[in-house]
Symmetry: C2
Subunit: 368 residues, 2 copies
DNA sequence: CTGTTAGCGCTTTCAA
DNA sequence: TTGAAAGCGCTAACAG
């Protein structure tokens, strides 16, 4: 019950000597151990890091003293010397909670985590700090990182260079000299829309996630490639993005975004009979809203997604969608990153993963 | 195309002076800036941290030089002084990829992330390092952490104390002096099983996630509380855990675990008409497997889950389950943690969140 | 096998 | 307003 002091303390702090009433909380350092054990700091360091360089008894004695004094090496001091943190980061331009609200991110991180496991690394999620992703990038205690949701022109990339941190971009339109893992967005989008058009749909809406570029014609990166794919599919059907029957909307990349966009979809004239969402999460929201309104998918509205999240197969109707290998994307990016962190020789710097249309039950042939 | 040198380099490294051919890659330090700007290191430090203490022109000049030389302060060195890392951790006893394969974890992290956002913190996911969670705990560059999946007796807790790191446990049977956020497991389990029994089911299986204790009677913590709840529900129906018609199984806490356990369920005699899974993720697997085998939920098998993941409502049949406020759990834990990290005065150290049975379509009254 | 001696790069009194 | 100097706690040559 040493509760009496230190109201702010969340947990009892182990007094260095184990003596209850002790007030001074100076952390036990390597110097204390050295003194107590009658050896040099070097010896203590060796005892922890390369015990082989010490006689068994010396090492044992040192470790004993350390145990008694409750000593734990300060990892920050260690990092300052070794220049290693044993952690890699994932930079995300949104808040963490927002990022994880899209199941996509969890799967990506899961893939990255597999590599962390093999390499003995921890994983730092790095969101903007007080609104500034740059500040967060400056402060991150990591050995390298994976950058998501940013273009190569971003200042963050500049800071990473400045900090001399290896990094790999994901889903970016990166130049040759920047490592990057992406998917064939063009092909995915093309297949998705082609599928709908071949089913006879002509009134179709394309629901994109929010871009900062504003208009479809100014899209860059992933979005641009996907819309190029859409353009081709439309052209093949004698249509174009500016056709009266083709609508382009943007919404938040979340389930809530899908719900929100549903209402706008219902206002459109002519009302679309099919929609392709640029993210499964958005599709989930659209389907949910549709059903809440007593309408049926695909009866009243065919829906195609993009991603093929694990949940997409389980939904009813199961979701027709463009599958991309999300976990592998994370895994490949993390592998490339670790090659750089470990300074292993590597060549391939750009990886483009294939996508595949998975036709399930959320789309149906247009009647009439 | 400075590709020629440094095969191991993942990205071009910005040469300190911007000169292409430069080979020496010594990082620019505060000393370089001081020298170049003709001021002391102190001044440079001030220019970055408390520019107010310098004349506007001096500060500007220093920053200019820093910009030109591509200087970025070394956050590790800074941390060594300030004793802050601006990151909190989440300790997980499994691999990262395994942890995130249960949607529960993503939602928990999402809640924690909300606090990170408010407090300007990054979030470190800390899995075992080379098999050792202890080693990972020793090495983590964090200001405090949230501990999941561990009991208070765990060595990790001892190390956290040794390192003087504030921490909060989640879902643990923690003693008074250890901060903890949990739910009313007893009530949740009781309601879940009571629901099934009231629907007339008598042949029921309880599918738990893997424990290390082995037998039901040796369960501790969360699992113990839940089984106490089950015991009460059974008792109210004149049954007990050892009744012939009640089966207890364990499986991995994942969808795959649910699929795996389904096969064992089908072998049981008498074959259960209902099952309560201790995790929605497991329930997903059971439902999926059931349907794959051409059987119907709840027609052939009623299923109750535990968690109420976001996806549980979207599934068909939508899942009857015990809702626990997962995000809030993470949020509350993170708030308590940050109170300790920021040394704010706090009192409540134990939080027990309520649960609630959500009856949906995966359970039905027993026929006959 | 063990200890001495420099740092690692930055912050922060304390003086000027 | 600015600077000198003493650390923060540890690692790693280099001697002995």
């Amino acid at each position: 019950m040493a509760q009496t002091d230190g109201k702010w303390q969340l947990n009892e702090l182990a007094a260095p000597t184990g003596v209850a009433g002790e007030r001074v909380q100076r952390r036990v350092t390597i110097t204390d151990i050295a003194r107590q054990a009658g050896v040099s700091k070097t010896a203590v360091s060796f005892a922890f890091n390369t015990p082989g360089r010490l006689s068994a008894e010396t090492a044992e004695r040192i470790l004993d003293v350390a145990r008694q004094l409750g000593y734990a090496p300060n990892p920050i001091a260690r990092s300052l010397n070794t220049r290693r943190t044993n952690a890699i980061g994932v930079i995300v331009p949104q808040d963490i909670s927002e990022a994880f609200s899209n199941l996509f991110f969890g799967q990506l991180v899961s893939g990255i985590g597999q590599v962390c496991n093999n390499e003995g690394m921890s994983l730092m999620i790095i969101p903007p700090m007080r609104g500034s992703l740059l500040e967060a990038t400056y402060a991150a205690l990591i050995d390298g990182c994976i950058v998501t949701g940013l273009e190569p022109e971003d200042e963050v990339v500049r800071v990473l260079r400045q900090r001399n941190l290896p990094f790999v971009m994901v889903d970016a339109d990166a130049p040759e000299h920047i490592a990057c893992v992406k998917i064939d967005d063009f092909d995915g989008a093309h297949q998705a829309l082609q599928h709908l058009l071949r089913l006879g749909h002509r009134e179709v809406a394309i629901v994109s996630f929010e871009s900062f570029s504003g208009h479809v014609d100014q899209y860059t990166g992933t979005l641009k490639h996907r819309f190029d794919g859409f353009r081709l599919a439309l052209k093949e059907a004698g249509l174009s993005l500016s056709s009266r029957s083709i609508h382009c909307l943007e919404t938040k990349c979340s389930q809530a975004g899908g719900v929100e966009v549903f209402n706008r979809l219902m206002q459109l004239v002519p009302r679309p009979t099919a929609v392709v969402a640029l993210s499964d999460t958005i599709a989930f929201g659209i389907i949910d809203a549709t059903q809440q309104h007593g309408l049926s998918v695909p009866g009243h509205l065919s829906v195609v997604g993009f991603d093929d999240l694990e949940a997409s197969r389980l939904l009813r109707p199961s979701l027709t969608t463009v599958r991309q290998p999300i976990r592998e994307k994370g895994l490949r990016a993390a592998e490339m990153l670790m090659d750089a962190v470990r300074r292993r020789f590597t060549l391939p710097r750009h990886v483009v993963l294939p996508v595949e249309l998975v036709v399930r039950k959320s789309t149906v042939r247009m009647e009439g």
